[in-house]
């Protein structure tokens, strides 16, 4: 198939960005969106032009490195799918596709479609862990965890940290991301000793990074490639309230 792409080009964090139009031809419907961009970049390279910078790594939907807002949607039109697993058969011959970076104050631009998501690392450093040193653990079966609870913790732990929730949110809120980690640990017995401290610290770090608050738009859940549920945000709010009361 033949396509027209309108791609955001920006030569560095402070440079002025703009949409640039490109044509790609003979695209196989079986390849992924990123492989289509590879084809574009090969064409540009052959003409001696600079390739379009974009992030990707595993290309199987699990590392969370890929991003892109495609026709206004974070990770594109297919539900529960990261850009790397979005295939061209979702598009039609002759389509015009607009490709932009994940935009948020807390995700500053790096180049073209690449943004800096290190704010997520800093939020997790604030409390997204269980403080246990190597060598301290008791036997894995010493603490029983019901199957249901383990499954719910796993539902939350499936977050890949891509930032689509932030890009999709009109407030650029990171509540879905933060709530996934808070939920995972608050559901597990191992997470209990630091339960209050964790949620307070992560909330604080989240605000300090410049992420907005949640106003129940639910765009994050719709954009999430791993289908992390809004109910985690409800849990985060409960955990936060509980921790605030207990810490007084």
């Amino acid at each position: 198939m033949n396509l027209t792409l309108r791609i955001w080009r920006q030569n560095g964090p402070t440079a002025q960005g703009r949409l640039v139009e490109y044509r790609v031809e003979d695209i196989s419907p079986d390849i992924s969106f990123l492989e289509m961009l590879d084809v574009l970049n090969e064409n540009l390279a052959k003409k001696g032009e600079q390739s379009v910078a974009f992030d990707s790594d595993c290309r199987e939907g699990i590392c969370g490195m890929c991003s892109l807002v495609i026709n206004g949607q974070a990770h594109g039109p297919e539900r529960a799918t990261a850009t790397c697993q979005l295939h061209m058969r979702k598009f039609k011959d002759g389509d015009i596709i607009t490709v932009e970076p994940f935009r948020a104050k807390a995700f500053p631009s790096v180049k073209d479609l690449v943004v800096d998501r290190s704010a997520f690392d800093r939020v997790l450093a604030a409390g997204g862990f269980i403080s246990v040193n190597t060598g301290n653990a008791v036997d894995g079966n010493a603490v029983l965890i019901s199957k249901d609870r383990a499954e719910r913790a796993m539902d939350a732990a499936a977050c890949i940290g891509c930032g689509a929730c932030v890009a999709a949110c009109p407030n650029a809120s990171a509540m879905l991301f933060v709530s996934a980690k808070v939920s995972q640990y608050s559901l597990l017995p191992q997470g209990q000793p630091e339960r209050e401290k964790r949620v307070l610290a992560m909330r604080k770090a989240m605000d300090a990074e410049g992420f907005g608050n949640c106003s129940n738009e639910t765009e994050c859940e719709a954009a999430c490639p791993k289908e992390i549920k809004m109910s985690n945000i409800a849990r985060l709010n409960r955990e936060y309230l509980r921790a605030t009361l207990l810490s007084e």
Binding site: G48, S56, V110, L124, V132, M154
Partner: protein, 637 residues
């Protein structure tokens, strides 16, 4: 050079305990005086960084991605082995050890593998403590499954995302140490060179992938945890940024490279669809627990799978290996797929795939059970191929997956360069000629959480390391050389892109050094690779400059290294005149077409010494001795 594996004396089950007692310790107050540089943040790198920081060492970690959490360990699906014997089905440390040595086709070190089996249980305990949400039974205990040909259920898992959960666990421990000020993270950095001072590894040169600046870092030891080299084949299950450059550049500085020809080809991958594809996607081989592999009995049968009656299907694995059926080890399953495809019985549009059929399993257990067990894998398959595996059989084909070979390390995980350690997939150590399913995660975490914290201390306590700063002449010289290398790439301004060369190299290797190899093909390959390398350095076109975010330049540097490394891989494959594990030499097979080892001549680790890009590498052999495992021809019939 004499290879000393430093394996402790005594019975195999006592070696690690004895070694832990014998090794020297660093006084707690002195640990903060040491600076450790860790390259790579997968399971091995993250767990090493966290554990060393917990002990009080100062750690700097470097990763190629924008966050340490994205390293490719994250993509491991199936699980992690441990000898817990929770299911009461006869497992033990001894059995895990035995199975792993046998699975590796008797080309690994007994002492290392025994230690790995011992540590496996601690890994599970620690990961549970870190909040890894492993699958559980209704009573709340940890769930286990049988995996990849094992006859006991020893695999722990977190849905089909075990690697993700284990890596995020290690990453969380790492981030805790970042918050504590013990670890500093340097993301979007690529290691360009290793710095030796007085013969010891004392630093690295990195390229900042955002600004293009070259940066020098010094330390008291360097740990390479940079994963495998499968991407030398262009198409593999590895992530795009996975590469051989860090280990290859260390090799060029004196670290021996061991068994590069031992490359694992994984049987259950989604088949290649066409020339624009950038990578192959693996589906957990747990699928083989319930799926049945088959092809039509007749060649060139173009009927749809449903139209082929039962009597005209060949369930070739069940037919040839009645005891193991579809659960034979990876190398056996892959080679058999190649064989039926070479016979013209492959299926799908390209003819380059075989069926993996769940119709019987769905009939037996019901759609819901299959959905619960494999739902995420079926969804992934549907996403990629556009076909619904609940309705029509999946199509699978083998793909390059894991590198058993890697930098040679001794029992302490130190390479032949003093102070340079290598952990995880990047080293050669524990899997011999073939890695068993669910053993990679085990090894990465064993090296990082439970081995290096001891052996690195032993190195520090036993060495007199002078102070080194990045102003040292060796850093300046290396920076200059790296910069010159980048300028050289940029100045060629030829006609072909780096990706184009990569693709051609990959096709050559896959054809002549893939699932099966022979002397004639390898000889041709060894002539073709230098020609391609020569053309690369005359005709590659790298656009943009070195002083900016430049994906084409990154790719070019990695491809340049692949073009050198591929030659060593082919050389090693040609030199190893036997078939074992993932290395199948057509000249050496039994009458039934099974791999035929030559224990008299090849029961050794082949460790190669670099002598210059155009020079002949020197082979050093570390003999393998088996005192506990009965060496036998592997048979799964």
């Amino acid at each position: 050079m004499k290879l000393d594996s430093k394996i402790p004396s005594g019975p195999v089950e006592k070696k690690w305990d004895k070694h832990r007692f014998d090794i020297k310790l660093v006084n707690p107050a002195n640990k903060r005086k040491f600076e450790v540089l860790i390259v790579g943040t997968g399971l091995a790198g993250s767990s090493a960084a966290a554990s060393l920081a917990e002990l009080g060492y100062n750690v700097k970690v470097f990763c190629i991605q924008d966050s340490p959490r994205r390293a490719h360990s994250i993509a491991a699906q199936g699980g992690i082995n441990a000898a817990k014997n929770y299911p009461n089905d006869g497992d033990s440390i001894w059995r895990l050890f035995y199975d792993t040595v046998k699975g590796g086709d008797f080309r690994s070190r007994e002492a290392n593998v025994y230690r790995l089996a011992q540590i496996s249980n601690n890994i599970i305990d620690h990961c549970v403590a870190l909040g890894v949400p492993f699958a559980r039974e209704y009573g709340g205990t940890l769930a286990n499954r049988s995996f990849g040909g094992a006859q006991v259920s020893r695999t722990f898992y977190a849905r089909g995302q075990t690697g993700q959960q284990l890596l995020l666990g290690a990453y969380s421990a790492l981030m805790r140490q970042v918050a504590a000020g013990q670890v500093k993270i340097f993301p979007r950095r690529e290691m360009m060179d290793l710095i030796l001072v007085d013969g010891a590894a004392r630093g690295i040169i990195c390229r900042n992938l955002v600004t293009g600046a070259l940066e020098s870092y010094c330390g008291d030891a360097v740990l390479l945890c940079t994963g495998g080299y499968g991407n030398v084949f262009y198409l593999s299950t590895n992530a795009l940024a996975s590469n051989v450059s860090a280990t290859w550049r260390a090799h060029k500085k004196g670290a021996l490279f061991a068994n590069p020809c031992f490359t694992q080809i994984h049987p259950t991958c989604i088949p290649v669809s066409g020339g624009q594809q950038s990578k192959l996607t693996l589906m957990s081989e747990s699928l083989r627990n319930d799926g049945r592999v088959w092809v039509p009995k007749k060649a060139n049968d173009k009927r749809s799978p449903q139209a082929i009656p039962e009597a005209e299907r060949d369930y070739y694995l069940e037919r040839k290996y009645p005891n193991f059926g579809n659960l034979v080890p990876r190398d056996v399953a892959s080679r058999n797929a190649k064989q039926v495809i070479d016979d013209g019985r492959g299926v799908g549009r390209t003819g380059l795939s075989v069926y993996l059929d769940f119709a019987d399993a769905i009939k037996r257990m019901g759609l819901n059970v299959i959905r619960e067990k494999y739902g995420n894998l079926f969804d992934m398959y549907r996403h990629i191929t556009g076909e619904d595996p609940y309705q029509i059989p999946m199509r699978i084909y083998p793909a390059v997956h894991y590198a058993m070979g890697g930098l040679w390390v001794d029992y302490n995980l130190m390479t032949t360069i003093t102070g340079l350690f290598c952990l995880g997939e990047a080293n050669f150590s524990d899997h011999g000629a073939n890695r068993l399913g669910a053993s990679a995660l085990m090894q990465g975490l064993a090296d990082g959480y439970f081995i290096i914290p001891y052996t690195l201390g032993n190195y520090f306590a036993g060495s007199k390391l002078g102070k080194v700063e990045t102003g040292h002449a060796s850093f300046k010289e290396a920076e200059k050389a790296v910069s010159a290398g980048i300028q050289r790439l940029l100045a060629i301004k030829g006609k072909r892109t780096p990706a184009d060369f990569h693709k051609e190299l990959g096709a050559l290797l896959w054809d002549k050094c893939g699932m099966s190899r022979n002397d004639k093909g390898l000889k041709e390959l060894l002539a073709q690779i230098p020609q391609l390398r020569e053309e690369f350095w005359k005709n590659v076109n790298v656009t943009g400059s070195g002083a900016e975010f430049n994906m084409t330049l990154e790719r070019a540097g990695r491809v340049a290294d692949y073009l050198e490394f591929a030659q060593l891989l082919a050389k090693d494959a040609r030199e190893r005149r036997e078939s074992c594990g993932g290395h199948f030499r057509e000249e050496y097979q039994t009458e039934d077409g099974e791999a035929k080892r030559d224990d008299n001549n090849f029961s050794h680790v082949a460790a190669w010494e670099f002598t210059g890009t155009e020079g002949e590498p020197i082979l050093h052999k570390e003999p393998l001795e088996f005192e506990n495992v009965h060496v036998a021809q592997r048979s799964y019939a």
